[in-house]
């Protein structure tokens, strides 16, 4: 079946996780034999969409149609059997097996005797066709992230499924590899197959896709053939109407008097980061942050801001280049539970985490308890006292406590990462006001946020991470949004 019909349709899909709706009456229609691009901001619902299409998640309401017929997936295997193959962002490879073995494992004839030569030939043939460089005999665990991505793609193609879905396949590929893969996908669809590619990169979508669907906050914001839409229209659909209104408070609410900009406090000098898997996370970057300013950082997931922030907070060392750090840097990581607080430790113990590496001798618990007391008062932390465990506090109060801890010794610099994640409007406002106050008091502040409006309300200038590179942009939501998807 090709040409006019739809290979895959998702109609009126709603999916809630607790109180938040990841998808709210969203729809997607993928024409047979087309290369369909699915775009949207972080958290717009793209991956949830893919998970529902492939049977990993059950929708709360809505219908899935395959070649016009309604289907119900009870399990991922149902979708696979019906010819829907997917590559998710999180790899499903066995690290202790070779590439060829992994591909064979996913193959249709599992159970027959494993023929190493045949399996390796299959991988080599597919990799050659697709233009991906891949050694079939290599152990997956030894491969770089980019090579593992290539192995995942080859595995999905080897299933010979008529519909292929790829979640950000180019995110960790080098630009030439990405271009070659997309080019091959074009050829793949011309043979009658259907492909859905999730991407953050607008240029990719416009350059290689047949049709585009944009999700915004769980709803379908745009659905059109590429030929009848424009880059501007797509960007507008991704970002939505800019409403800075309710968020412009932070700047106005900051009561402290703005100082004039101080000297350079934090700086990167041609610093780059290559992670343990060998992937280049941050290309050579220079950046200077002065006392009294808030530098906002924007970027889609995995664009390098994670490493940028940790370099500036002194939590990791650059692979090359240099970092200038003041004696004291406050750091508020995005994931409170993983990185900032120990849930069943008392607030006093959690307060003592800051600077723990330099502590010697006997712990001054009484003194730390006083710090907790004054943090609770100064930051209006509610729901707990000195003896409570961190888990007794609500998310917003935990975040206030973390910020209070990091600011307790009036650090010369403050690095915060998505500080309002999971907080309600009121708590978010309080946090952002504190961040601005800190800059007003002379600190050099760096703040990453996945919410552009939050950056506009808080930052004095903004840098954007894209594919490991850091650019400065104007303080303008369109400009930031474009830079985040690689359009400058």
């Amino acid at each position: 079946m090709s040409g006019e019909g739809f290979a895959l349709e998702l109609r009126g899909i709603t999916k809630r996780f607790g109180a938040t709706a990841a998808l709210n009456d969203a729809s997607l229609a993928v024409r047979s034999g087309s290369l369909h691009m699915l775009l949207g901001e972080n958290g717009a619902g793209k991956t949830t969409f893919l998970n529902i299409a492939t049977g990993n998640l059950q929708p709360d309401t809505g219908a899935i149609l395959l070649n016009g017929q309604p289907v119900v997936w009870r399990h991922r295997a149902d979708a696979l059997a019906a010819g829907l193959s997917a590559v998710s962002q999180h790899f499903s490879l066995v690290p202790a097996m070779t590439v060829a073995e992994n591909v064979a494992l996913a193959g249709p004839r599992l159970g027959a005797k494993y023929n190493r030569r045949e399996a390796e030939d299959t991988v080599r043939r597919i990799a050659n066709n697709v233009g991906l460089d891949l050694d079939p005999a290599a152990m997956v665990g030894d491969l770089s992230v980019a090579a593992q991505q290539r192995a995942e793609i080859v595995k999905a193609i080897a299933r010979n499924a008529p519909v292929l879905m790829l979640d950000e396949p180019t995110a960790v590929l080098s630009p030439p590899d990405a271009a070659e893969l997309l080019l091959w996908l074009r050829g793949f669809v011309s043979s009658g197959r259907t492909v859905v590619v999730i991407t953050h990169r607008i240029r990719e979508a416009m350059g290689y896709g047949d049709e585009v669907t944009v999700l915004r906050r769980g709803q379908t914001a745009l659905s059109a053939p590429i030929s009848s839409t424009s880059e501007q229209e797509v960007v507008a659909a991704i970002l939505g109407a800019t409403d800075t209104g309710p968020l412009a408070f932070a700047r106005q609410h900051s009561t402290a008097v703005r100082q004039t900009l101080g000297t350079s406090v934090l700086a990167l000098h041609a610093a780059s980061v290559i992670d343990a898997g060998g992937a280049r996370r941050l290309r050579t970057t220079s950046l200077e942050v002065r006392g009294g300013e808030v530098v906002g950082v924007a970027g889609v997931e995995g664009a390098g801001q994670y490493q940028l922030l940790r370099l500036l907070a002194g939590r990791i060392s650059p692979t090359s280049g240099r970092v200038t750090l003041p004696p004291s840097v406050g750091f508020v990581p995005e994931d409170r539970h993983r990185d900032a607080l120990i849930a069943d430790f008392s607030l006093v113990e959690n307060m003592a985490l800051r600077g723990i590496e330099a502590r010697r001798g006997v712990m001054p618990w009484a003194h730390v308890a006083l710090q907790v007391q004054s943090a609770i008062t100064a930051f209006d932390v509610r729901g707990g006292d000195v003896r409570s465990t961190a888990s007794a506090l609500s998310g917003g109060n935990q975040q206030k406590f973390v910020l209070a801890r990091e600011l307790a010794d009036a650090p010369q610099a403050l690095v915060v990462e998505n500080p309002t994640r999971g907080l309600d409007v009121r708590a978010s406002q309080e946090i952002l006001t504190r961040v601005r106050d800190s800059a007003a008091a002379g600190s050099a502040v760096v703040m990453y946020s996945s919410d552009i409006n939050e950056l506009l309300a808080t930052a004095d200038r903004v840098v954007v991470c894209f594919a490991g590179e850091v650019y400065e942009t104007t303080l303008d939501s369109d400009a930031i949004g474009r830079a985040m998807v690689g359009v400058r």
Binding site: F331, A340, I342, D344, F345, L353, I356
Partner: protein
């Protein structure tokens, strides 16, 4: 922490022990042994007389308490040291070799030297696993366990070779001279000064974890490596490495105390699995040094009782090992059980 949870922290282990004993009593009945007679003999053998209390129960409590503390130091740092038994043997062998070599040439100092050498040997034995973990990322569960067998066979070699007693008749070392022996605590009883060391060490460990920066660093690392390295900037690999070495040092001291305080000679059966029972001891004590004093006394009594049970009631001592094993399983299951219970009754904290 609510009062309920504070109470249950003490009550749950007691319930686990009682349940384990009940299960074993049931098995005794099914297999044709008389659990009442067994219990009577066990209680008499553990606490029935001064001799039972001091020369059997508390004498056994000493190595279990020290080894339990050793295990707790590592576990608190998030390092699973399964090798206390091997570190114990390394400490015992080194202390014995030192004591025999020096003899009574330097008077009482030989004892201090032997204990110091035991500590060092235990630390080195654990240090091998610590280095393998740091350098090659070898799981300490595997390396420490395997080093137990190396230590056991090393002792076997020593007592048949370089350290064998002069007549060459037995696979054991010569006997330590009195200068190298730990003083006994009570006349006519076998309890030695090492018991005082072990209790003192427990109190010191309790203070260490509660009040010192190093103790706090270990607790934080064990609770969350990511928080330790992100909220703090701790070198978590380094903390874990040194915790394992310290754990081995304490286990080495336990071995040195056993050979200078109880056996006065080295032989292969020196540890009847003390290092493994110590894991149960540490877990039952909630990794809290004061709790470990209680659980070590309990397992000391259990071991002494098991011997008496076999001797006086003809019930195999292995039943006591089953109790130990069931206690470990029970203690590990408690958090999960409590969580389920909280969910069912709707009294969870969140």
């Amino acid at each position: 922490m609510s009062l309920l949870r504070r109470l249950s922290a003490g009550v749950a282990p007691a319930l686990v022990v009682l349940a384990a004993i009940a299960v074993v009593a049931l098995v005794m009945m099914v297999t044709g042994f008389d659990p009442v007679a067994a219990a009577r003999a066990a209680v008499r053998g553990a606490v029935g007389s001064e001799f039972a209390l001091f020369s059997a129960t508390l004498k056994r409590t000493t190595p279990l308490l020290m080894l339990g503390l050793a295990v707790a130091v590592a576990f608190r740092a998030g390092v699973l040291n399964i090798g206390a038994d091997g570190q114990f043997l390394a400490g015992a062998a080194a202390a014995c070799a030192f004591g025999l070599a020096v003899g009574d040439a330097v008077g009482r100092s030989v004892l201090l030297g032997a204990l110091a050498v035991g500590i060092l040997a235990g630390a080195l034995w654990a240090g091998v696993a610590a280095w393998l973990k740091r350098r090659f990322n070898v799981m300490e569960v595997v390396s420490t366990l395997l080093l137990n067998f190396v230590a056991l066979n090393l002792v076997g070699f020593l007592v048949r070779g370089p350290l064998q007693e002069p007549t060459g008749a037995y696979p054991a070392s010569a006997t330590l001279l009195s200068a190298a022996r730990l003083p006994l605590l009570l006349d006519g009883q076998r309890l030695h000064v090492g018991f005082v060391f072990s209790v003192g060490l427990a109190i010191a460990a309790w203070w260490f974890f509660r009040s010192t920066a190093a103790g706090f660093q270990i607790r934080v690392t064990g609770a969350s490596r990511t928080v330790a390295a992100s909220a703090g900037r701790l070198d978590v690999d380094g903390v874990q490495m040194w915790s394992l070495v310290a754990s081995g040092a304490i286990a080495g001291l336990a071995g040195a105390c056993e050979v200078t305080g109880v056996t006065y000679a080295l032989y292969e059966g020196l540890s009847p699995g003390y290092g493994y029972t110590a894991i149960a001891t540490a877990l039952l004590g909630g990794l809290n040094p004061l709790g470990i004093i209680m659980s070590a006394a309990l397992f000391g009594a259990l071991g002494a009782g098991a011997d008496a049970m076999q001797r006086d009631a003809g019930v195999p001592a292995e039943f006591a090992t089953v109790v130990t094993a069931l206690v470990v399983l029970g203690v590990l299951a408690v958090p999960g059980v409590m969580k389920n219970w909280a969910r069912i009754t709707g009294r969870g904290e969140q």
